[in-house]
């Protein structure tokens, strides 16, 4: 077993760290307050190749492995999870889904500009009445012979406004239940698509989240991904990988909060000494360090399995559930270690705590991960 990273993996980690600290940190609090993303950050993220970092160079991506992706996601999430979720959706849901299941024509037309970072993607699965239970899709994609006709509403869609390429999951044969679901590539500017207002969120406020309404939207036949009825399998397989992205995001949120708490505990004095010297503070930090180490190992193991082309669905569910849950615990303790200062925005940890909460909810709640994990125990 080799726990060493390659020179290239370390270089990618450093590049992500430099980008986050130099570019994102300066105005992250302001962007969170105002709930806006900065176009120049997204442009830079694209120029550095972070939006298509895992896609095969054959399709204009960076060709990096999943381990590198975890390292980059962790570094960026330490500073700004609103940016890292954009990166996660682009890399592990949209690009990965297209690379693995789209045909050559679709890859040429849609994947290449996405992998180059010239276009942004979004993944539209959740609906007002279909979150954890993704099988009960109500958005319909009726087969009209030479096109599909879309009607329905998707909810909580990350990148909905920024994206130009949507991957949409919809029901073609309601009587066939989840076997009647299809996945499609839809151009966002197709007539009949409208967006709800930007969601006013608790955390990751700058991340671009909207509901998306389809009203008699015509989508060409050639935009269906895979065989007729492949949509549900497509969504589940894609989410398996997506969870590694969100797991490493949660890991980054936790380690970002931990680093800040550790630094603060060595500077802040109470009762004549740095608070780190009070055992209950030191032990809190010790517990946080162990959790983060576990979380990182789970993420890297899932990434490694994926890179080795071994089954990774259970490992990614374990990583997602554990990382998200400890992110919530670690960020809460980081606020505690900061005392009153932790409760104000300037010190970042309250924001990290708000961000951590989302990682337990999206791309499958922690409860849903436990369903996946417990089912795998019986196999």
């Amino acid at each position: 077993m080799d726990f060493n990273f390659t020179e290239e993996q370390l270089m990618i980690q450093q590049a992500a760290k430099d980008f986050a600290e130099r570019e994102l940190l300066v105005d992250v609090i302001e962007r969170d307050d105002n709930a806006v993303q900065s176009a120049s950050h997204i442009k830079k993220l694209a120029e550095l190749g972070f939006l298509g970092m895992m896609t095969d160079p054959k399709y204009d991506g960076g060709g990096m492995d999943t381990v590198s992706y975890v390292l980059a996601m962790e570094e960026i999430s330490k500073v700004d999870a609103s940016i890292s979720v954009l990166m996660s959706v682009c890399n592990s849901l949209v690009n990965w889904g297209l690379e693995n299941f789209a045909n050559e024509f679709q890859k040429e037309k849609y994947l290449k500009p996405l992998a180059r970072g010239e276009k942004i993607g979004a993944f539209l699965l959740s609906e007002p009445e279909a979150g954890s239970d993704a099988t009960s899709q109500r958005t319909t994609a009726e087969d009209k012979g030479d096109y599909y006709l879309f009607n329905g509403t998707k909810n909580w869609i990350t990148n909905a406004h920024l994206a130009s390429t949507y991957l949409v999951i919809a029901q073609t044969y309601p009587d066939k239940k989840h076997k009647g679901i299809n996945a499609f590539i839809v151009d966002k500017d197709t007539p009949g698509i409208t967006l709800g207002p930007h969601e006013n969120k608790m955390g990751m406020r700058a991340s671009d989240t909207h509901s998306v309404m389809f009203n008699d939207v015509k989508v060409p036949k050639e935009n269906r991904i895979g065989e007729d009825g492949f949509g549900f399998t497509f969504a589940m397989k894609t989410l398996d990988g997506g969870r590694i992205g969100i797991a490493s995001q949660a890991l980054g949120i936790a380690s970002g909060a931990f680093e800040r708490a550790l630094k603060y505990s060595r500077e802040r004095k109470a009762f004549g000494t740095e608070i780190f010297n009070h055992q209950s503070v030191a032990f809190k930090l010790s517990d946080m360090a162990v959790k983060i180490e576990n979380a990182r190992n789970l993420c890297l193991k899932a990434a490694w399995l994926k890179d080795q082309h071994l089954p990774y669905g259970t490992a990614s569910a374990m990583a997602k559930q554990y990382c998200a849950d400890i992110a919530m615990e670690v960020t809460t303790e980081a606020v505690q270690i900061h005392g009153g200062y932790g409760y104000v925005k300037e010190y970042h940890v309250e924001r990290l705590m708000r961000e951590a909460k989302l990682t337990q909810i999206y791309e499958g709640t922690s409860e849903v991960q436990k369903i996946i994990i417990s089912r795998s125990l019986l196999k």
């Binding site: 270089m11 990618i12 590049a15 970092m53 160079p57 990096m64």
Partner: protein
């Protein structure tokens, strides 16, 4: 024009410095980076190549060091240098580095040799100047701006109370400092990927006299803890500044 950028491999600036028996730097657990000043000059060389490809034929990076410096060379390749050279040799002091570099460069032809104004490890600040002397070519130091206009090299350097702008003939050694580039370039995924196929040549160093022996290293004295004085208590502050710090 062919540019050669000399890059030193130095401990990360946040490294906690320790010594073995006060005689040698303890490198255990140290993370190595490209010397920040070299990284800035390298960034400028690459920016020029990207924006004025007609003027810059190639950017090569060179390092005198052992195999552990190769990660820094490959980072330079990922940032955009075309190829890299490592002169396989220990580096005992500025003289030995400049000597090894000059022996290699004398056999090749480069139009501009970039050096950083100093290294963040030993802060000798003398390799660039020595190198120019050994090669018997001019050098311009403290360069904070570098351009090529109508095929001519124009540099700006900081002098006491202002700047001077010089037009320089090649070949020469450019000793760069802050300002030459805004900030070091971050390697892109594409850059990291293409670095895999770029050439990194290792050449053996030549014999070199050892002119310097390190006798002792001292760490700076620990700073006294910061003392906070109540805003109401101006008298105490003045008293301390006068009697203890002796600054007023």
């Amino acid at each position: 024009m062919k540019i050669l950028v000399c890059i030193n491999n130095v401990p990360d600036t946040t490294t906690k410095i320790k010594f073995v028996d006060n005689k040698a730097f303890d490198s255990a657990g140290v993370q190595w980076i490209i010397n920040p000043w070299d990284e800035l000059t390298l960034t400028r060389a690459i920016e020029m190549k990207e924006t004025q490809p007609a003027d810059i034929e190639s950017v090569t990076v060179i390092n005198v060091g052992r195999a552990d410096a190769e990660a820094s060379i490959r980072k330079a390749l990922a940032i955009g240098a075309d190829n890299g050279i490592r002169i396989n040799s220990d580096t005992s002091d500025s003289y030995s580095v400049a000597f090894q570099l000059s022996e290699y460069i004398a056999k090749e032809k480069y139009d501009i040799i970039f050096c950083g104004i100093e290294s963040s490890d030993y802060n000798g600040g003398s390799v660039g100047g020595m190198l120019a002397e050994f090669l018997a070519i001019p050098s311009v130091s403290s360069v904070s701006m570098f351009e090529i206009k109508d095929g001519k090299v124009v540099v700006k350097r900081e002098i006491d109370g202002g700047n001077e702008t010089l037009s320089v003939q090649t070949p020469f050694v450019l000793i760069g400092q802050k300002g030459i580039a805004i900030e070091p370039k971050i390697p892109s995924m594409r850059g990291i990927m293409t670095a895999r196929t770029k050439q990194l040549t290792v050449v053996e160093g030549v014999a070199c006299n050892q002119l310097i022996e390190f006798v002792d290293f001292d760490l700076p004295k620990a700073k006294a803890a910061c003392r906070k004085i109540d805003a109401e208590n101006v008298k105490e502050l003045i008293d301390l500044l006068h009697n203890e710090a002796k600054v007023i």
